[in-house]
């Protein structure tokens, strides 16, 4: 039985393939589709449930507007990081990634403070006094938060790889994926936030 070195042959073979997109990138996009479907089901469950009546109307605490703004700003820094990587400007790249990461963490802290504000309004996640209207807000933000934590881990990995000189203008795949993921998570939260503002 002969085995061949798949990684080496694949390089040569991929040049002749009918589609030229990097398979890893492609798979990553499909992963994003599954996340979209997850949140699409949450939000449509929200609508179906709301239309069944017995719904509690309340105002979203202002702090969520702040967190949304912070996340939007972080995306701008992410973009800066991406451009710096493309230009091999490593000093700026490191600063930009660091700021993005810190803003991501700030966002999470603000979200938790948002939950605190909700509790003060007597909007609970669970228990005797909870209404699904409120529980959904917690579900949206916590599941999004979990994804954002994975995004932060991804940022840290990229940060480490920048130090190891593994990311530069000739080797952008990881940087591209990370940038896409971060913008995606940003957009996802904006969607959820606007959805909650419009539909509550």
């Amino acid at each position: 039985m002969t085995t061949i070195d798949i990684k080496k042959t694949a390089l040569y073979e991929s040049a002749q393939r009918p589609v030229h997109m990097n398979p890893k990138k492609f798979a990553f996009w499909i992963f994003l589709v599954t996340v979209v479907m997850l949140f699409a089901s949450f939000t449509s469950a929200y609508l179906v449930r709301r239309d069944a009546g017995g719904w509690l109307h309340f105002k979203m605490p202002a702090i969520f507007a702040v967190s949304t703004f912070v996340l939007l700003v972080s995306s701008a820094f992410m973009h800066w990081a991406y451009i710096s990587a493309k230009k091999d400007n490593f000093g700026k790249l490191k600063i930009a990634i660091a700021i993005t990461t810190l803003l991501g963490i700030a966002f999470l802290v603000l979200q938790v403070m948002g939950w605190g504000a909700l509790v003060e309004q007597k909007i609970f996640f669970a228990g005797k006094y909870a209404n699904p209207a409120g529980s959904f807000v917690y579900v949206f933000s916590s599941i999004h938060g979990l994804h954002l934590i994975s995004g932060i881990i991804f940022l840290l990995v990229v940060f480490a790889n920048v130090y190891k000189m593994k990311i530069h203008s000739k080797n952008m795949l990881q940087m591209e994926l990370c940038t896409t993921y971060w913008h995606f998570l940003d957009l996802l939260w904006v969607y959820l936030y606007v959805f909650l503002l419009v539909n509550n």
Partner: protein, 612 residues
């Protein structure tokens, strides 16, 4: 002969390219080769063996509850060594354990055998080999996918043995029954394990699906255009897309149910009284769960069936020595079925209290699915028509699938009428419908696939005679089990009841129920013929030739026992579709996909002359 020459010639021309001769000199350790392997062929076999294991467990469970249904008076204390306290002192099956058995049987068969076992085995095995790829897009994620499935299997298996028993609320786990541990013992820890196991299962399935889609789109060999892909690949590809779009929805439903159960939210619960006590849950909607569940649940039945249909297309064409009839129509009907499967889910909820007007819309959409389904059935029959049929066991099982697909699809039309469904919903008529069209049909597809690709998987042949016996006994047995269920369903037998003999109305059907149970015992028993044949042939079977079924697809151009990377030399290029069987003028009755038109001037059609 021309074919063989072309083949060797091709391989040697591959050898001439020095740059693809990168042999792996550092051999992988045993554990990376067979246990934590990234080779799609090994992973496929891991799925196959795990699937077989689960099929045995699920089949055994069905026998236990069929004993109860067919022979309610019988003393089954002899099962005590196996079931322990679930056999009452009077020698009867515990009532709640009966429900748990039904639930686990459904879960195991639908998800672990016919989803993971079927797609996991054949998508993994065939996609790289048939599109001409060295492996899946990401071998690592593929390995991860199997081990998530393994973990989920372990959890589900453990749940069978815990003191409160496994989940008992039906495979559809409707709340409030599944949400409240006070409701039945199966909604206790068993249900928790069920949910965790299924959440992990979904992760596994998504990782698998992601790989299948990426591989089909990105890693096809030169010349393998979409319209030259074998129908197996089309079916696996579309199945994976359905899975990626629908399983996250089940994940969402499971997550919300976990919150309801463990964290006291009320997404699905409202206004519940238990033993005179009002529970605190307010504002939830059990109907919401049904919507979420069936938004996955209906696509899921096609996730189970489509791979089997793809396998059947391939086998029927090969063994009829004829091109598949209506290749393009087959592709479009797969796509059509996939699309429609997302907009018919509420036909499972006609009597759930849903708005009846909505019911009418879903009824129309549901009935439209009959069109692409009928196209497929017609095309199978038209392919067989005047074919030069070779009855291999795989072919018999494929024809069996077509038979079940038709007879089960017909009852779907009856159930799809929202008015008729008022009578038939939740009766054995539904049980008959889906066991025939989904259960048995997909099982037959899976068995057909095993018989057909066994030589490629294990380098040996299965015994044909045992295969024939296995087919006929299973075919007759399965009809004997499921066909009579239509009658008892029309008579009004509700599903998931522990005992019927205590109702006067049902007394007349006692013998029929006993007959079904005997047929079930018979049908399950004859599967041992298959198991024996399968395991015996792995070690002792006749050695397989290069291309035992004289098939056109690429996997048969790989070595009989392909190593990691599938082709030792260059990957073959593809010049034609997969169905050039009995082409007029050709020397042989098949022309593999890697034979260029320039080598077959005698059989080229006018438009193919340009490609010579």
């Amino acid at each position: 002969m021309a074919v063989v020459e072309a083949h060797t010639q091709h391989l040697s021309s591959g050898q001439a390219h020095a740059h693809d001769e990168h042999h792996d000199h550092h051999d992988l350790p045993w554990i990376r080769k067979y246990i934590f392997s990234e080779d799609h062929k090994i992973i496929a076999k891991q799925y196959l063996f795990t699937g077989i294991f689960w099929a045995i467990v699920g089949g055994a469970m069905s026998l236990i509850f069929r004993l109860q249904l067919g022979f309610p008076e019988a003393d089954i204390s002899w099962l005590k060594p196996l079931l322990g306290k679930w056999i009452t002192p009077e020698g009867k099956l515990d009532q709640e354990f009966y429900l748990a058995l039904v639930t686990m049987h459904g879960t195991i068969m639908v998800f672990f055998v016919l989803t993971a076992g079927l797609s996991g085995t054949f998508s993994n095995y065939l996609i790289p080999l048939q599109v001409g790829a060295r492996d899946m897009a990401s071998g690592f994620l593929n390995m991860l996918s199997y081990w998530f499935f393994f973990l989920s299997s372990v959890l589900m298996f453990i749940s069978i043995f815990i003191p409160t028993g496994p989940a008992g609320g039906g495979w559809t786990i409707y709340p409030p029954l599944s949400a409240l541990p006070q409701a039945i013992s199966g909604s206790g820890a068993g249900m928790t394990l069920w949910l965790i196991s299924m959440a992990i299962f979904i992760v596994s399935l998504l990782l698998g699906g992601l790989n299948y889609i990426t591989t089909v789109i990105n890693l096809r060999t030169v010349g393998m255009t979409f319209w030259r892909m074998p129908l197996t690949i089309w079916a696996f590809f579309i199945t994976a897309i359905i899975g990626v779009l629908s399983f996250p929805v089940l994940f969402a439903a499971a997550l919300l149910l976990i919150f309801d159960r463990s964290l006291d939210t009320s997404f699905f619960l409202s206004d519940i009284y238990m033993q005179g006590q009002a529970l605190h849950y307010k504002g939830g909607s059990p109907l919401l769960f049904q919507h979420l569940f069936w938004f996955l649940g209906h696509p899921e039945v096609y996730i189970v069936l489509l791979p089997a249909l793809g396998i059947t297309s391939e086998i029927i064409s090969t063994c009829s020595r004829k091109p598949i009839f209506g290749y393009t129509a087959m592709v479009y009907s797969i796509i059509g079925i996939a699309f429609l499967s997302f907009i018919v889910w509420a036909h499972h909820m006609f009597v759930s209290g849903m708005n009846p007007f909505l019911g009418s819309i879903f009824m129309i959409l549901t009935l439209i699915i009959a069109v692409p389904s009928a196209v497929k059935s017609f095309n199978y029959i038209a392919t067989l028509w005047r074919g030069n049929i070779i009855f291999t066991p795989a072919m018999l099982f494929s024809i069996g699938l077509v038979s079940f697909f038709i007879s089960g699809g017909l009852t779907g039309l009856i159930l799809g009428n929202s008015a008729a469904d008022i009578q038939l919903h939740d009766t054995y008529f539904v049980v008959a419908h889906f066991h025939i069209v989904m259960g048995t049909a997909s099982f037959f597809g899976m068995l057909a696939g095993v018989y057909h690709w066994f030589p490629k998987m294990f380098g040996r042949m299965m015994d044909e005679r045992l295969g024939y016996i296995h087919f006929w006994l299973t075919f007759i047995g399965a009809y004997c089990v499921f066909f009579p269920m239509h009658y008892i369903g029309i008579a009004g037998f509700p599903r998931r009841y522990y005992l019927f003999s205590s109702f006067d109305a049902f007394k007349t059907f006692t013998e029929l129920d006993a007959f079904i149970s005997m047929a079930a015992i018979f049908t399950v028993s004859v599967q041992f013929i298959f198991l024996f044949n399968f395991f015996y042939s792995i070690f002792r079977g006749r050695r397989a030739p290069q291309n035992p079924w004289k098939s056109n697809t690429l996997e048969w151009t790989a070595p009989i026992n392909p190593g990691h990377g599938n082709w030792p030399g260059e990957i073959p290029h593809v010049y034609r579709w997969a169905y050039d069987y009995s082409k007029p003028g050709a020397a042989d009755d098949y022309i593999p996909q890697n034979i260029p038109f320039s080598q077959t001037p005698e059989s080229n059609l006018p438009h193919e002359k340009d490609e010579e």
